[in-house]
């Protein structure tokens, strides 16, 4: 443990030596709060309230919020409605591809407590057991005013540094992974190396690794490069980077 602690102290000490570090931090936090690219994963009915929030009636762009189309470019992951277990896998894959700092917003009651799908066997009830949700916007469905109100709340939280759900995902990865394994089975794995990322950001804590990550490492299969098949003149020719 001591070997892990040493780099944490040095990086913190480095940050303190720069007299302008806090000014830069403040500036970057301000810009983060005023420029949010959102990836809306429109799973349920809440998606219907987003077009009015984005277009001429309520116009999110005046707050610096604009839609982006890939997880790499996005800051906010918007989950708008119930999440079935199959969908949740995709949501987690998407979330882990996003660049930190990243924020998750759960819209509609279904993400809070399952909503009207409470009795469904195929729906994830509480989104924040599987992903660190920074903000819930409750309602069935929340009106665009409520969505904008929630966005403003998130802006305030980003500016004050409270919106640190992405750090929580690294700090308590074992707990999140345990809940995910409970739903998806023991052989659940994603391409992202979350533990490695956690140590990269100095966020690896006692909750990062545990029994569930050990289970992950046992069941983990190495990722294989994508294989492409070409049909040439009736014979099936196989091309893969691993075999060439």
């Amino acid at each position: 443990m001591k070997e892990i602690d040493i780099p944490i102290e040095t990086s913190a000490a480095k940050r303190r030596t720069n007299p302008l570090a806090r000014v830069f931090d403040e500036l970057v936090r301000f810009c983060r709060s005023r420029s949010m690219f959102m990836l809306h994963y429109c799973t349920g009915c809440g998606a219907i309230e987003l077009p009015p929030a984005m277009t001429s009636r309520f116009d999110m762009e005046r707050l610096g919020i604009q839609p982006m189309v890939t997880p790499r470019q996005a800051d906010i992951l918007l989950i708008t409605g119930y999440v079935s277990i199959k969908t949740l896998k995709r949501v987690i894959l998407t979330y882990e591809q996003m660049g930190s700092p990243k924020y998750v917003i759960g819209i509609c009651s279904c993400t809070v407590n399952g909503g009207m799908y409470w009795q469904s066997y195929a729906t994830a009830k509480q989104l924040d057991q599987y992903l660190p949700v920074d903000l819930y916007i409750a309602g069935c469905m929340p009106r665009p005013e409520a969505v904008l109100e929630g966005m403003r709340k998130l802006m305030d939280r980003i500016r004050s540094g409270e919106a640190d759900g992405w750090e929580d995902y690294y700090r308590r990865y074992d707990w999140y992974l345990g809940n995910q394994q409970h739903l998806f089975g023991d052989d659940w794995q994603t391409p992202a190396d979350v533990i490695g990322e956690a140590s990269h950001y100095d966020l690896a804590g006692p909750g990062t690794e545990g029994e569930h990550t050990r289970l992950l490492q046992q069941c983990q299969k190495p990722l294989e490069p994508q294989q492409t098949f070409f049909q040439i003149g009736g014979s099936l020719e196989k091309k893969g980077e691993s075999h060439e």
């Binding site: 970057v28 005023r34 762009e61 005046r62 610096g64 790499r72 470019q73």
Partner: protein, 299 residues
């Protein structure tokens, strides 16, 4: 000109271009907002976006070529700015000339192609293939226009071209003397800026912004910076060739902003063409208009 002044100009010209480019991006987004009856982003929004992207904690690199590609994309335009004369600053414009400028303006697309190639994302590959094809399409009318202007003024030196136009007053402007070439130039401008209807290589809903699909953090920030330079370069080049350059900064900026506003205003009236439709259109109408204009100029 002393070496100190030259060095200062070489630093100042890209800086000015960046600042003006930020306001151009703002103008484009505001025009889009106004046409859709929205309020639009606040004044400093382009800067917020860039600072935020550079301040991201995660910076996903896909390899050396990815890094170098972005540097080429931004660096190509930085080099182009030093070849574009602005009021009071000529930089190395009188040594470079139009031909060098046309060459340098192709570097960013090629750099982007190298960088995107390493991302190994199929959407990115499709996007960059379409972008290079689009470049092939709009470069033919663009070269015809540049050749026609250089023929008419008898020089490829941008400083001289601007001086000749300014000596003749408004009636000496290239747009008055060569209206057909100016129209063909507008087509090329639309294609060069990648605005609708020639926007197929970005196509957010279909191929997830094409070349930008794997860009995150400072890589996307680099592309945002590149967009500022791109708008500025295209606008200033058009103003230098057809609208008499800038007598002073006020008229210069008014002209440049007006020129850049045209593609954006046109953009919202159109859906997008497919790549082959774009090539057919680019190689038919602007080329025909350009060649006709060239015939009048050379006659």
């Amino acid at each position: 000109m002393s070496i100190q002044i030259l060095l200062m100009e070489l630093v100042l010209m890209p800086l000015v271009a960046f600042v003006v480019g930020l306001f151009m991006v703002l103008m484009l987004r505001r025009i889009g907002a106004k046409l859709q009856r929205r309020v639009g982003p606040p004044m400093m929004q382009p800067l917020y976006d860039i600072v935020k992207l550079y301040g991201k904690k995660t910076q996903i690199s896909h390899g050396w070529m990815h890094d170098i590609g972005i540097i080429m994309a931004v660096g190509g335009y930085v080099a182009a700015e030093t070849l574009l004369p602005v009021p009071g600053m000529d930089g190395i414009a009188d040594k470079g000339g139009l031909v060098t400028l046309v060459y340098v303006m192709m570097i960013p697309s090629l750099g982007l192609a190298l960088g995107v190639g390493q991302c190994a994302n199929p959407n990115g590959s499709i996007g960059i293939a379409r972008a290079l094809t689009a470049m092939l399409a709009y470069d033919v009318p663009f070269v015809i226009v540049v050749f026609g202007v250089a023929w008419y003024f008898g020089t490829t030196n941008l400083v001289d071209i601007i001086a000749i136009q300014q000596a003749g007053g408004v009636s000496g402007w290239g747009a008055i003397a060569m209206p057909l070439l100016a129209i063909a130039g507008l087509f090329a401008l639309q294609g060069m800026l990648g605005k609708q209807p020639f926007e197929i290589y970005i196509a957010p809903a279909e191929i997830a912004t094409g070349p930008m699909v794997e860009m995150s953090g400072k890589y996307l920030g680099g592309l945002f910076v590149m967009q500022c330079f791109q708008l500025y370069t295209a606008g200033v080049l058009y103003v230098s060739l057809f609208l008499g350059g800038g007598e002073n900064w006020l008229f210069f900026l008014i002209k440049v902003f007006a020129v850049v506003a045209i593609p954006m205003t046109v953009a919202f009236l159109f859906p997008r063409y497919k790549t082959e439709q774009m090539i057919r259109l680019m190689w038919k109408w602007p080329v025909m208009i350009g060649l006709l204009g060239l015939a009048f100029v050379m006659h």
